[in-house]
Assembly symmetry: none
Homo-oligomer: 235 residues x 2
């Protein structure tokens, strides 16, 4: 007797709200109706709705202001081009640019296969530079379900911009794991690092606001020219 107990009401509500916001049905900055009105309309108690709203706020899609209202925030991620780019020259800074080498639709690798829903993914290979100096090689896997085909021309310097505006996928959080690795043997000729040479290594998984994995990437960077920067606290 599988008692198919439904999800808690406040979870259903928060997921519904997240879908509405992500789909663009609620504009950025829009103010929701007062909680009591909203609760009446939805046929739930105010406390239940408040729990759902707190959930959406925790996911960064809503600003709740006492005495004022609940405001949709459609930019959990700064739409800035380099919001999540963490490599800098050794003396700090540097203007980041990207050059896409290839885009292919392939079966997803083991590390990413378990995550998304689709068995295939788009593999994007890019070179990254700082102030015109080649710094890193990126291998990015994007879940297949979003689009049948992705062309090199589709991609701008900011993949996150592409994800959001072309695929409707909003990246809300990322996790980077930084270690040491050797340059893979498919290093392109253009790259100044030699295959087999020791480099800094970054593995990234990113998620949508709804918590679904969206992207997996591996980056090899020349630690003699750039370093990965993590700032906590101010700044």
């Amino acid at each position: 007797m599988a008692k198919t107990s439904a999800l808690p009401k406040f979870i259903q509500l928060s997921e519904m709200l997240i879908r509405e916001i992500a789909a663009g049905h609620l504009a950025d900055g829009a103010r929701l109706p007062p909680e009591r009105d909203m609760a009446d309309e939805l046929g739930v108690a105010v406390g239940t709705l408040r729990k759902a709203l707190a959930d959406v706020e925790a996911k960064g899609l809503l600003d709740r202001v006492q005495g004022s209202g609940n405001y949709v925030r459609h930019r959990p991620v700064v739409d800035s081009v380099y919001a999540f780019f963490r490599l800098e020259l050794l003396n700090g800074g540097g203007l980041p640019t990207a050059e896409v080498l290839s885009v292919d639709r392939l079966a997803k690798p083991d590390g990413f296969a378990r995550l998304g829903g689709d068995a295939e993914g788009h593999r994007i290979i890019r070179l990254r530079s700082l102030d015109g100096v080649l710094i890193a090689l990126e291998e990015i896997w994007l879940d297949g379900g979003h689009r049948d085909a992705v062309a090199v021309a589709d991609l701008s310097d900011s993949l996150y911009h592409f994800y959001r505006h072309e695929l409707g996928v909003v990246i809300a959080s990322v996790e980077d794991r930084i270690g040491v690795d050797v340059m893979p043997d498919w290093t392109p000729e253009a790259f100044h690092l030699k295959a087999g040479q020791t480099t800094g290594y970054i593995e990234r998984i990113s998620w949508t606001a709804a918590g679904a994995p969206a992207e997996f990437s591996r980056t090899w960077y020349d630690a003699s020219r750039a370093s990965y920067i993590s700032r906590m606290g101010k700044g």
Copy 2:
């Protein structure tokens, strides 16, 4: 007219609980009384207590299990002891510990000399482990002005706790730069890594809330056992 508006009751409760757990008055794994009993005893409504308990859980000091009880968890330790520790085992997590090898008062190295006011600094050498496995070697430089002498016995697992409670120095922000380096030749015998071997490398500068540099450190970590983790956004 200092309007001494008290903090919300559920905040007071959660802070009280956190203090109790941190002080060791509640043993690790101990089970709290049922929520209704506890609420009666504290003279608050169950809902209010539940909000406080959710707070403590969010800080990682409590396990709440439906149908069973609320269990104290000492793991992440309070006072954000490991708030700035970013190394994790390859499969995630691991309980961090530290072993101080030496503390010396020396002239500060070039990289740190320009920063603080004092010409001398305390150099602390530590080994870091995760779940008992040696992971990293740390060289930490603390500005000399704070105290004439620092003894090994003064230092707990958390240097930030020491800074704050013994020196009155509150670290408000840090910047980590992660790259690749070779293990220095003064590697202690106890360490499993051999001098000259390639490791992950972290340079950290930390500042007080006032913006004054407080600490400079270099960490060499075994990238085959641990990785540096950086999480952005929610999660």
